[in-house]
């Protein structure tokens, strides 16, 4: 069930971009004759495979831009000789949307008058419901219906039949029979709200401030590309995962091996610690290992301080004061057991801030220590024997042999992308080698 009432003064959300694109396709298409023609034309025009073309043409039929002549109630595109016709723009979904009750009443009335018993069961029910609901305009409805019937009698028989088909197709979409999918279901009607942004001078002043600030910000040249390559081996969707993907093999070994705390972590996990400082800090085992290293260097208090500050930032508000006091006692007070080395300016600022403790009172000190560890201890840790041993000991799990269901073994070869398949087909001989090479490269690259 959807809410279809709009708030007073409401506005219809613009759902039309989709319709406009479909209309562009229709306008570009030649007059369709058979389903097969439509599929072929789409495949050629967009360089796509048959499956995709079936999908798109299915959309065009379901939204009413093309309708079938045989079996009009089955809004499916058959890729054979079944005949299809364009819907006239007068009856495009976007032209007359939403379809009005009045028009539907007139349509049903016409059908009723033209031939008694032509209305289907569900149409009869709707007819009587409408009759009750808009009883006050019923004379108008009947009059309009009669008028339209009279006008159509004056047309040539062929034209009249076409118009009837088109009108029927329109109403099959806009008032689908019970059980059929409602293609125009747009979901929850989001009501307009009264607190809309008003374009007054206050608003413009704010915008100007924001723009001025935005103008002055630092920008980086766009040639600095995404560093996605690092994580490629760690992306299970692309590279698969060892020992086996739990959803396929129903074996949760992968997760057991990668729990928060395990005796020995996997190699991939330890490798991730070297990608960025945050990766190390976000992993509980990584933190523990790093702390062990820092203790050896007598700088463990830095990490301890950072962790305590994080706890304040994300923890309960009621305990902030207590936690701040604890940090002061342990890390900041002169002669504290785990005193951290912060520059005097930041220390003064923090100490005065502690008098009115809040969630972010330690922010500056925390940042200072964070960068200290990141620039100094972190790189040395990555070069240390401790880390290197961890990496060497890291488990690389064996891929489990799926002896029970051998035929479910996932195929890791990759066929060329849909666009490439089509290029190969149309450029036989000519430039096929280019596309072919790309295909084989990718097959080589994706085999784990």
């Amino acid at each position: 069930m959807t809410i279809n009432t709009m708030a007073k003064g409401g506005w219809h959300r613009d759902q039309m971009s989709c319709f406009r694109m479909m209309e562009k396709v229709i306008v570009a298409m030649q007059d369709p004759d058979m389903g097969r023609d439509i599929i072929d034309w789409l495949m050629k025009k967009y360089n796509i495979c048959e499956e995709e073309s079936l999908h798109i043409s299915g959309l065009l039929v379901r939204y009413g831009y093309i309708y079938p002549l045989k079996e009009p109630r089955s809004l499916v595109l058959r890729p054979d000789e079944s005949p299809y016709r364009f819907q006239t723009p007068y009856f495009w979904t976007s032209t007359r949307w939403p379809a009005s009750e009045l028009d539907y009443a007139i349509y049903l009335a016409k059908k009723n008058i033209r031939k008694q018993g032509e209305l289907m069961e569900y149409e009869k029910e709707r007819y009587s419901v409408l009759h009750k609901r808009i009883n006050h305009t019923w004379d108008f409805v009947v009059m309009q219906a009669r008028e339209q019937l009279r006008a159509s009698k004056q047309r040539r028989k062929a034209d009249r039949i076409v118009l009837e088909c088109q009108e029927q197709a329109y109403w099959l979409i806009n008032r689908p029979p019970p059980g059929a999918r409602n293609m125009l279901d747009m979901g929850l009607e989001r009501p307009n709200n009264t607190a809309r942004v008003t374009l007054n001078s206050e608003h413009y002043k704010n915008e100007i401030d924001t723009c001025k600030r935005a103008l002055g910000r630092n920008r980086v040249k766009s040639s600095i590309c995404l560093e996605g390559e690092q994580y490629q081996n760690h992306d299970p969707i692309m590279e698969g995962c060892l020992p086996s993907n739990p959803w396929i093999s129903d074996d949760s070994a992968h997760w057991t091996m990668n729990l928060e705390t395990v005796p020995t972590p996997t190699r991939l996990r330890v490798e991730r610690w070297s990608f960025s400082f945050m990766e190390l800090l976000n992993d509980e085992m990584g933190r523990r290992e790093f702390m062990t290293y820092l203790e050896k260097e007598f700088s463990g208090e830095n990490l301890g301080f950072w962790l305590a500050c994080e706890d304040i930032k994300h923890g309960e508000s009621s305990r902030i004061v207590e936690k701040v006091e604890e940090i002061y006692r342990n890390f900041l007070a002169p002669g504290a057991p785990r005193w951290v080395n912060i520059d005097s300016k930041t220390m003064d600022k923090t100490l005065s801030g502690i008098r009115h403790p809040h969630r972010f009172v330690m922010e500056d000190a925390q940042m200072h220590i964070y960068f200290l560890i990141k620039k100094d201890s972190y790189p040395r840790y990555l070069k240390s024997d401790l880390y290197k041993n961890m990496l060497a000991k890291g488990i690389v799990p064996q891929e489990t042999k799926k002896s029970v269901f051998p035929f479910m073994r996932r195929q890791r070869h990759s066929s060329p992308s849909p666009a490439q398949v089509a290029t190969q087909a149309t450029e036989e001989g000519g430039n096929a080698t280019g596309a072919g090479q790309a295909g084989t490269n990718s097959a080589a690259g994706s085999n784990v």
Binding site: R13, Y204, N245, H314, S317, S414, S417
Partner: protein, 337 residues
């Protein structure tokens, strides 16, 4: 007032000009040497059945096996995706729910919708029952999206054009992020929890500093409502999906759009998106019942997930990157990998 408006337009043009000067190469040129991904074929591994009406939202838990989904049948269901069992089935006061979220700790879930409120439920209550812990009410418009920062803070976006940071313990608004000129439709939190991004019906996406409650950057370019938004895994870029059937990638450091993911054969709007763990692949759910998979560096379509019988309304990749879950108006959730 006309002068103010002219001044604003002038500044905006200047920003566009400056952005152009920093555009010394396109992502396509830079990614030309990268190996091709090839066809990505994901299969449905599990189908989660149990909802009785359209599913509007889903969110993975951080443990990568549990997820929560919200449906118009008025239920919030927490699923164990491996066994397909329902861990919790929470009845909601209002069935017009539009969003749901799972807290990183796994203790709480939240949902909201046309009731203009964000309701927080405690999954780990003392007597085993799941009860409403808080109802965060202050928005004057529908709740379109919510995301937890921790067990004590949550960010919501609303149809009243604002986003709000709440303190869950006290149930009050801590910060209000105002600036959008259209309904804020979705939001995403950065991996370091310092920033969040919001996409709205004014066709722009904004980056907000959580601490300072300021809009740091605004990105435009879309021709229709932005329905979905997400951070690139390394936190340096933002991906948006819109009703104009395209997705766009904006880089935060270069402060501009790097790529548009579009194809003339894709006509229906994007409802939801999720990047794969490495960020190489982008999965986008559309109104035409399909999910399109894009190679993010080369802007080529490398796969399609076709399995739903109605609009794909939500999509998510688990935090360990192993599986992708799609939820649809056909009332089913499917796990793919």
């Amino acid at each position: 007032m006309e002068e103010l408006r002219k001044e604003m337009e002038n500044l905006k043009d200047q920003i566009t000009a400056v952005r152009k000067t920093f555009q010394d190469s396109t992502l396509q040129e830079a990614a030309a040497g990268v190996t091709v991904v090839g066809r990505v074929q994901l299969k449905t591994r599990k189908t989660l059945r149990g909802h009785l009406a359209k599913i509007y939202a889903m969110h993975w838990g951080t443990d990568s096996t549990l997820c929560v989904s919200a449906s118009q049948d008025g239920k919030l269901i927490v699923w164990d995706t491996i066994t397909t069992n329902k861990v919790n089935a929470i009845p909601l006061k209002s069935s017009w729910v539009m969003t749901c979220a799972y807290a990183p700790s796994g203790n709480l879930v939240a949902c909201g919708g046309l009731d203009n409120m964000c309701s927080i439920y405690n999954l780990k209550g003392k007597d085993g029952n799941v009860k409403v812990m808080r109802e965060l009410a202050a928005h004057t418009g529908y709740l379109s999206c919510c995301r937890f920062l921790s067990d004590t803070e949550i960010i919501t976006s609303s149809g009243d054009c604002t986003c709000v940071l709440w303190d869950i313990e006290t149930g009050t608004q801590k910060m209000v992020f105002a600036g959008h000129q259209g309904d804020a439709m979705s939001l995403g939190v950065s991996p370091d929890f310092k920033f969040f991004i919001s996409g709205a019906c004014d066709f722009t996406a904004k980056l907000w500093d959580i601490r300072e409650a300021e809009c740091r950057q605004t990105f435009g370019g879309h021709e229709s409502d932005i329905n979905a938004i997400g951070f690139f895994p390394n936190g340096n870029a933002v991906i948006t999906g819109s009703d104009d059937a395209t997705c766009k990638l904006y880089d935060l450091r270069a402060d501009q759009e790097l790529l548009t993911y579009q194809d003339p054969s894709i006509m229906c709007g994007v409802t939801s998106l999720a990047p794969s763990k490495s960020g190489r692949l982008l999965l986008a759910g559309h109104d035409d019942f399909n999910v399109n998979i894009w190679d993010m560096l080369k802007a080529e379509r490398v796969g399609v997930l076709a399995g739903h019988d109605n609009r794909v309304s939500c999509i998510g990749v688990s935090s360990d990157g192993m599986a992708c879950c799609t939820g649809s108006w056909d009332s089913f959730l499917k796990i793919w990998n």
